[in-house]
Symmetry: C2
Subunit: 246 residues, 2 copies
DNA sequence: CGTTCGTTTGAAGTTAATCAAGACGAGTGG
DNA sequence: CCACTCGTCTTGATTAACTTCAAACGAACG
């Protein structure tokens, strides 16, 4: 696993500090974290961990996108999680990776040595409380995703994925999602298929169909613009009354 | 909502005390919990909460089975969680139900008034730590389920569900799952379909197929016996090397 | 200029959904 | 005891959705 060694960044200057697992930590706790942390980076396409690997660290995503996925005996794979900046990877109390973790883009992670981190979690409640919040949010996202996998049509799945990416993009820059929106797809067609429980051909066909009907426009294969976000939302099959569980 | 009023049970005598959210609580914390708790029971088929309902309590399942489910505009529904004895319902910090919660069998819950419970969580780390563990386990289960929903065939889905129920049943009574096993299905065909992202007709057909081929035997519609658990496992599509993530 | 990777598109094949009867079992009431 | 009903489940025929297999396109790269 070739990696680039990174210079140390002060927690105080960290871009995702207020959203990560360390969000509620004060100066003395941050000092402890500083001591057990180190940065690692991974190239696009590189595997960060295989299921069953022993991991001697847990980590926070600093930049880039990574995926969690599971595979059946015969190679069918399903993505089960998406790691975005500020997301947490690894499980305190478990030494072994439960999923394949893969860098989709170039990724930088802030890693904490497992033992000291677990010790810190026991001694300071802030971290466990924050991690609980983040885990509950992930569980909600996983359940939304289960509805998509179990009950949505291919077209609805694609529309839902586009809406999710558009919404996340908007929350980082502009404000409320509405009207015209533009963004880049951070995933290949195959990765989209693994996310949605489809084949890559079906993904391609449905994207083409949405384009043909004017729900979206494409510039190149990856840049999407949505002329009318509400129109896209209609295609997702979700409740219209905007009842996202926060 | 008609309910039966229940007599108070001491935490010390509680059958699921060592597995629930209060598992790590000591005497003084249990005393605080005693003060904010009350029991409620629900009949089979009764709705415990609708999505969007304001809930002034969180709760631990004492006995029975309940389901969490989500519904699309046009009525397609997907089960997203199963509440078994000792499982926790509700989210600290959220006033509103995110899912429809339905009693499948008769259900008894140990409810905690929301405000005092949240206060207790802030003041004592044991509860948050235990809830974090339980939530991480649920997240693992949800991701296993996503693999099932996204990538398994109807036959594999049915086999997987039967294996899950058989395994849970064994863990409550006997030891390691193997050889001959028997259990009752706690779900109707329709509930199984909502769990697996199938129609009830497909569920019925695949159950019949597994019976026809001798993988399972049926006594009545609900009582299943599995002559050879390993044979059933082969039908699930999962890795054979028994790598369940704990 | 040829190769590779990601993608699109077409034709054929398969799975599971849908539509439609009917069977079974457990009450209920005459 | 029997006829009736209701909910649940099974089975069959047909259809729709998605996958599979196959070919080819185009941009990026050496």
């Amino acid at each position: 696993m070739q990696e680039i060694e990174l210079t140390h960044v002060d927690c105080a200057d960290c871009p995702i500090r207020h959203r990560a697992v360390c969000a509620r930590c004060e100066a003395p706790e941050l000092d402890q974290l500083e001591e057990m942390k180190y940065y690692r980076s991974f190239e696009a396409g590189q595997t960060i961990a295989w299921t069953g690997d022993k991991l001697d660290f847990v980590a926070t995503m600093v930049s880039g996108i990574a995926t969690l996925s599971q595979t059946l005996e015969d190679g069918r794979t399903q993505m089960v999680g998406l790691l975005l900046p500020s997301d947490f990877m690894g499980r305190p109390g478990r030494e072994v990776a439960s999923y394949d973790v893969t860098a989709t883009t170039e990724v930088v992670m802030c890693c904490f040595r497992r033992r000291p981190f677990e010790e810190l979690m026991r001694s300071t409640p802030h971290i466990a409380q924050r991690l609980l919040e983040m885990t509950l949010d992930e569980l909600d996202a996983a359940r939304e995703w289960m509805l998509l996998l179990g009950r949505k049509t291919a077209r609805e799945k694609i529309a839902s994925l586009l809406a999710i990416i558009a919404r996340r993009d908007a929350s980082l820059t502009r404000g409320v999602p509405s009207g015209r929106m533009e963004f880049d797809l951070p995933l290949t067609r195959e990765a989209m298929a693994d996310y949605l429980g489809l084949t890559l051909e079906t993904v391609s066909r449905q994207v083409s169909a949405l384009k043909r009907e004017g729900v979206i426009q494409l510039a190149g294969k990856r840049h999407v613009s949505v002329p009318d976000f509400d129109r896209l939302m209609l295609e997702t099959g979700d409740d219209t009354d905007g009842g996202m569980p926060v």
